[in-house]
Symmetry: D2
């Protein structure tokens, strides 16, 4: 599989650098006949677009998406959907002073080690702008999932030391931090202001809850649904941990408290709890899927940092420019997109899991 491609049956291939001409993606394996307009993608891209609040980079990008192929008369044709977003505000001069040295917390050093040189104008391929392609693809994936009743609820669970105490889904889009708790959002905002005053940055946790997932998605071994979700989400820059269900907390529990029992609820087999986060043995169990991503503080900070030049000369670096003091809120839609991509692939793969259903599919049509 290409290194910039994700998925098996439903795939996305992203391309583009932060300071190149454009950023884009090719989505392949989308079923024919899905209603799809550029607006559907734009709505998702707007959720990650910069410049939306005082906590995001001032880089001005409209991030207008254009569909180049795969859609005809408002419906997908079953052929690859190519999307493009032009970079309009590269302003590469901002980065001129960092071309010759390695920014701490960035991929500058490892790119040079791997490839021998790099596009020194910015983050290049490891810029957060790469996620534009993921989000456009995620919007398509979400539309497919929506058709069979799968819904996402994704938000910031914590920012720095501030965690949510209440959960009000209607609040999520009411604050610029996408927190489902207005009080926590206000505290987090204060914390961020304080970080910014110290020329510092902050991290946090994104949580994604997915309802309506039919039981049976995912495969028992390497293609476990949670395993693929882990890859999907860990592949987002700055994510340093992925948890499913009770996550790291399971280690201090016992079998008797961690196991989810089963009961019969009006003729429907249901679990009595959901410590597992909706996945058992790598396969969805029909309850809510719950996943968390721990995201590190933005590495670009303007206080002096110790580093070296490409030639190995030690120096002190200050990164001025337009950087997010926190990327967690903008990562919300990226996490959701990666989960959506994973689920669509599992959804399609699962269609051939049972011979009786394969026969039905081909003999009844």
């Amino acid at each position: 599989m290409g290194k910039s491609t994700f998925g098996n049956t439903f795939t996305v291939t992203t391309w583009g650098e932060s300071h190149g001409k454009a950023i884009g993606a090719v989505i392949d394996g989308c079923p024919a006949g899905l209603p799809l307009l550029e607006e559907d993608l734009q709505k998702y891209l707007n959720r990650r677009k910069p410049g939306q609040s005082r906590f995001t980079t001032a880089r001005k990008e409209d991030d207008l998406v254009e569909i180049l192929s795969g859609v005809f008369e408002g419906r997908t044709t079953g052929t690859p959907i190519s999307i493009i977003v032009h970079n309009t505000d590269q302003r590469s001069r901002d980065y001129g002073n960092i071309a010759a040295s390695y920014r701490p917390g960035h991929a500058d050093y490892t790119f040079d080690q791997k490839y021998g040189f790099r596009d020194y104008r910015g983050g290049g391929r490891s810029s957060a702008r790469e996620t534009i392609g993921r989000v456009a693809a995620g919007a398509i994936a979400s539309r497919i999932l929506g058709e069979i009743g799968i819904r996402f609820c994704t938000y910031c669970k914590s920012i720095g030391p501030v965690s949510i105490r209440n959960f009000n889904p209607d609040e999520i889009n009411q604050n610029v931090l996408y927190m489902p708790d207005a009080q926590a959002a206000a505290e987090a905002a204060s914390y961020l202001e304080e970080c910014m005053s110290r020329q510092d940055s902050a991290g946090g946790v994104v949580e994604c809850r997915i309802t309506g997932v039919p039981a049976g998605l995912g495969d028992p071994v390497f293609g476990k649904l949670d395993a693929v979700l882990a890859q999907a989400v860990m592949s987002i820059g700055a994510v340093k941990a992925v948890e499913i269900g009770d996550g790291i907390n399971v280690t201090a529990m016992n079998g008797s408290t961690d196991n989810d029992g089963f009961c019969n609820k009006n003729g429907q087999i249901t679990k009595t709890s959901n410590h597992a986060g909706g996945i058992m043995g790598g396969i969805s169990d029909g309850s809510e899927i719950i996943l968390r991503a721990s995201i590190k503080p933005t590495p670009s900070i303007s206080q002096p940092q110790q580093t070296v030049s490409r030639d190995g000369e030690e120096l002190s670096l200050e990164i001025h420019g337009r950087h997010d003091p926190i990327i967690v809120p903008r990562a919300v839609v990226v996490v959701e997109s990666m989960c959506a991509l994973t689920l669509v692939d599992a959804l399609f793969s699962n269609m051939s899991a049972r011979m009786d259903r394969v026969k039905d599919f081909y003999l009844k049509k």
Copy 2:
């Protein structure tokens, strides 16, 4: 990619159920000329073999491995290596009483939902015995990595509420819990005794440290080294969280404390710290790779649990039989194996990352 296959260039395909005739794996893409004997694999398998201590299942399996292909006169030939381990102690009568109901914490329910029926004699494909193939493959991967100086140090970092306070690598193989801290190991043993007396089970954390990894392994986007490691490790049954470097702790840090600076150490560019856990932008940076897996308590416990039958009838289930009160110590070598498999694949994939090196390879030979 086959659902039971892991890797792109260096692949392992596992097969077999807990109560079938045998368990095995096919390892493909192994370079020719690697010295390899059955003993090399057996050593790894012995680390996960049951019956080694009072904290593991009494099921008696010697888990003797046989190499069926791909090795000639003590060296790999470059063709697929097929390995097999016969199941000798299936004793399926142990499981008779659970055939008709869904064990909490297991994959019984999800298998039935996905496939319509299941091998009800035991865990089937989601049994921990499936990891035999992973460990045999991991032994081969480790041997390849060893040839270029990559070494593993893997251990239990915590069991239930007991975490290590000291780190003595020589201690790891001195206690049955594979903890690098004798004192903590003793405390953990007491904790486990207490769990067992309550007919309960416990979880814990496995940590894997990898040294000697050259900078440059991994790809910038979906094939990030940490992303593939996350999939690899999360695909082990019972793992509920994967962390890289400082993991979930990064969320409360600031850029100024989380960023690793660079310095020049006798002409060698080095990092001043390793919060990132050896991976920057998805690419290894030459420092130690650090990964943690959170593992849930063994779901099989003998105290009564609420569940339902296949027909939806509610009932109380007691699982008697031969089950590990904790699987974390036996998972140590499984986590190490999955990391080794991931690294070999990244090692081979990286060989074509630079045109000058491709030219060297083909024109200098």
Copy 3:
């Protein structure tokens, strides 16, 4: 994808060498609930088994197949099916004299060039015995296809200069050359006798016709059904050409004679001819799929041949031993198996081609 793995959703991974302990395959992605017994596989293996006629090697192998996993109570479970056939008549002494030199027409030289050394006891991995795994997998694939009405008719179309003039499907299994024309079979037998008397060997053409294939299988670009069939069939050792429909004859035709028109046959859209061989633009059109493989003469002949030793010393080589004067009849079931594997993969992949059918699948169940 592993180099020894074929397919995307329904995959087969083969392993084993001609003179190793055993030969086998792992079939993954088989739907659950398919009735399957060892006899089902044995029937196919018997069609390629040596020693069936005076035109095949005298090597005595019963080629008894054993299923090691993935089948429970006579039905597939949805997990990998591992099959094994033990090598019982390796008699490696037959090959001792050829260990140090390169047999013309074989892969000895290229194996040494690629891997640095080889299993010199026989053909190793490039032996025709490798196809055992393909045929066992093909038997499973054919069983799946049979469930939805897809049937194969595969036979020798020509042997050396002798081509069939009549087509009587009932005749195919009445002669040891699997020709649908008794007269041609008799002539071909005479030709082979004559080749054998000259210590020489012969080639021929295998044709495969597949009926009942629903329209819509295959993808428009790189995954064209004919393209994947071409890879599948060309991957059989000794195949030097693959043709679809009218094949090489199309080059001398005109659009007006090569195009298949459409008509309405009792309300069913049908083609007026089938020059295309059942595939248009890479997608099955519902008519018979027709494919031909050109197979070279067996390279092992006992007359003296010019070659060199591993050290480059020129010498004359006579290959005595038990070799088929022709492999074409035994290749019939191998070609059929590779086509079956390709079709099953296309069948499953096609299930997510239309959004309305995906919705039906998940919302109506």
Copy 4:
């Protein structure tokens, strides 16, 4: 693997329809540091561009290529190379009259069967314009291969009934039919004039010869170099047969005449003939690789043809518009491109075939 993606390590993903906004491709896995300019790609695209002679469509497309990512300061960066060619002369009105019926020899019917509807403005995804992405990618692949001395010579071997009798490589680019025999080219031109006068079209054979290929490329089983080449070339629309080396002619030969002997030529092991076409057991043997593709006559002809409407109504169709009377000459560079893509992938995959070379690679750098 995505259906529109080719390759494992070095991949190309194409997108775009004949009458959409643009056509493009994403090339991933290209090593860093390769000098690459848009001119390098344009040179290849010009070889397949329409309007070059009286034997190609009058559709006016400049097919100007733009590189959107992956190249910085004239060198590849190791990240995906996105290329785009805008469609400037869609003139969809040409196709209006064929929207409702199925053109014989085209994929209209199978697209409708697979996807439920189609972009009826033209060939859509199965248009020959799709090959633009392949050729741009092929240009990059050829540049990589050129760096290690691999060269292509590709030409029309026959057109309709006219085959070349002489082989003069310098002649290939001297005639619009890319034939290496001026006399045959003249005869073929007459034949084509005659076809055109009858409102008919013609087919032919493209042959590709590749020199400088190191021994050892390709894998022994499903990834045989000839098998992957067969898929690559058969995936080009209108190709109905692929032959390697002596191809279909081997079936009438004997082992004694088909086998290539070995000799020692000044200390170099060489073959005494090349019936195998440079590939033995699926692995390159260091001699010239020879491949042929049989290409059918252009299906679009303006004489009346029998067909049906989407509703199944029988009718007579005349396709007026701008269609090539033959596509074989324009397919020359497409066949070459697909072979180049295949070889680069095999080249990179082969780098990890031997443990000693892997050690050299990592320990000597």
